[in-house]
Amino acid sequence: MAERIVITATGIISALGRGTEQHTGALINKKAGMRHPLHLRTKHAKEFVCGEVDYSNDQLAALLELPTGDNGYTRTTLLALAAMRELMGNTDTSLFTENSFALVNANTVGGMCSVEDMYPDFISEKEEGPFLKYIDTLDCAESTLNIARYFGLKPFMATISTACSSSANALILGARLIQNGVVQRAICGGCDALSRFTLNGFNSLKNVDKEPCRPFDADRFGLNLGEGAAYLLLEKESDALARGAEILAVFSGYSNTNDAYHPTAPSPDGDGALHTMQLALQKAGLTENDIDYINAHGTATINNDLAEGKAIERLFSSKKTVFSSTKPYTGHTLAAAGAVEAFFSIQAIQQQKAWPNLNFNSLIEEMSFSPVTETKEMPINNVLSNSFGFGGSNVSLIFSRT
């Protein structure tokens, strides 16, 4: 039997703020972070509400003691560094120089947030200009490399990009690397910044809501975009105990499957989601009766919520398990969502509270039990967190109280 993997430190930045207190405060007090974007310069700023982080790029750079202006750091990287700085600040960093560790990062569009503005310069005849600093920042690994270099680290490095399930996958890889003896610890998570590319991309799919999103609601129209970054430190339970680290939760189960149904839509009866939740339970050695709270993927798109809702009801039919989507708080933070919501799941355990599903009025016709709409104080021993992405990527994670 493989040894248990635990989470001993976290770092997070999103529309709700920075760090644990700001996030749990917002969750408990039902204060969503959604508004019209100020930093993202899009034609659609007044049309859409987004979960934008309350810092400009210059403010993030200043916080990180980096030069401001055209410094070669994309917003994606700045968000990643801000979240990482919190995690590193809460950890004995000699752990990362003396022992082997992995850095598993995730994002969907790399530095597109910067590149999209400079692209005309990139492809022009200009050979000089501030745009040169960003010329290798489009791909997903640019933030991973920047994290390693900023903190002077030499980890086993990986970047995953599986759309909306990316950072959930990063957590799985971290756990497996530790269990297979490849590294002793793993920092896992993801980052994504708002970009015109993404906003317009999702808008072309006609599944972005101009109003705050309404997961699992009969009148839902689509998602709201968000941005942010979250990282979690994973290690073996015995290592955490040996160094007297605070254990925030056990990473007790996970699964990664594929819907194999359609490039962007889930199997309508939720077969894929059901399958992945069942496998995660199996991995954790738990049954559906052991799950106290489900942090759903719940993007509020027509298709996702119907499929996921059905899957939840099929699996948890005998025990009407408490569930909610926390995306009305932060927006859909894309690649960061898995890690952001893992953090929310861990805080549910720490606080012994299930988080409310905001903006809910009436249930999807095909469902029979509703999400929880108030912060619910209750015993929480096991939390299931779902992240489903384009390309049929389905990931479920389970976190447990120690």
Binding site: P120, D139, S204, N256
Partner: protein, 357 residues
Amino acid sequence: MMQPVYILSASIVSPQQHFEDSGFLQDIKEYAGGVLSVVEPNYRGYINPVAIRRMSKLLKMGISCGMNALQQANIEKPQAIITGTGRGSMVDTEQFLMSMIENEEEVLTPTSFIQSTYNSINGWLALQTKCTGYNQTYVNRGTSFELALFDALMLLNEAEEEMQVLAGCFDEITPDYIKVKSKIGYWKKPAPVNIELYQHSETQGTIAGEGTAFFTLSNKAENAICSLQAVKTMQDAQPVEVMDAINRLLDQHGLALDAIDVLLCGMNGDSRQQPLYDELADIAGEHTTIAAFKHLCGEYDTSSGFATWIATEMFRAQEIPGTLVIKKGSHKEIKNILLVNHYILNSHSILLLQNVQ
């Protein structure tokens, strides 16, 4: 330490040949402009005919190559699909981005946006094979393919029963990409003819390439071409650290550098990374053949996929085509191949493969 896993089949689309061509680097193609584009196979028969009409070149290349690798191994449905790419579908990304800029964020079509997601090829392969198993995409520049292989290695070691994994990589070049990267010294100016690439190793820059490679892997040796013994990736490492890692890796497998039959090197004609390969050439003994491959496929994030295909062909044929040889060794057979590669942006990788016959 992890147990070795086995490569059952290998398939490529490259600037030299593709999976419908027979023979192993028999008809070497020369490229004079510093850009090596793939020779394309007939994609029909490998891809859903209704879907193919929307697909860009990279998607067609990657999906058909993956399907072909499965066909070669007589596998209808793998248990996992794992890929790596440095840049994903640049054509789709560029198309959506330019359309967004030109149309001022109005009236945009979704196809190129959807296809620009890095795991879209994975999604299609899962769809076509009805594979609901583990599915992962690594986008980590020069080590993207190696990470996919490493994950496959771990997954096959974790499996309690017989398991088959489809692992692969894909990357493409576009005129925009060539132009953009030329501004930061990626390419040699003027571009040499590809087959003369290593004669220009004292200047900076390289030549651009593209391609896709897919492999089926198993935790059982039956019908295997060769075994994958180890995969190591590094970032921002100095040549001395890479040499150290090579020696440790070989030591863990009971080997030393002078016992390696073929040392397949990722030298790309760029003087900045040449010192590592010069040192390897100096240390390698008489026994070892030193080979290079980037003059055939050009430089791109996942060129090690092409190199791994070359390794499988060398094991199969027990032959080394002359075009690959930098220095011929005295070894009689090809029992082991060590692939040492680097990518422009400071990554290195080491792969150890062994014959199973």
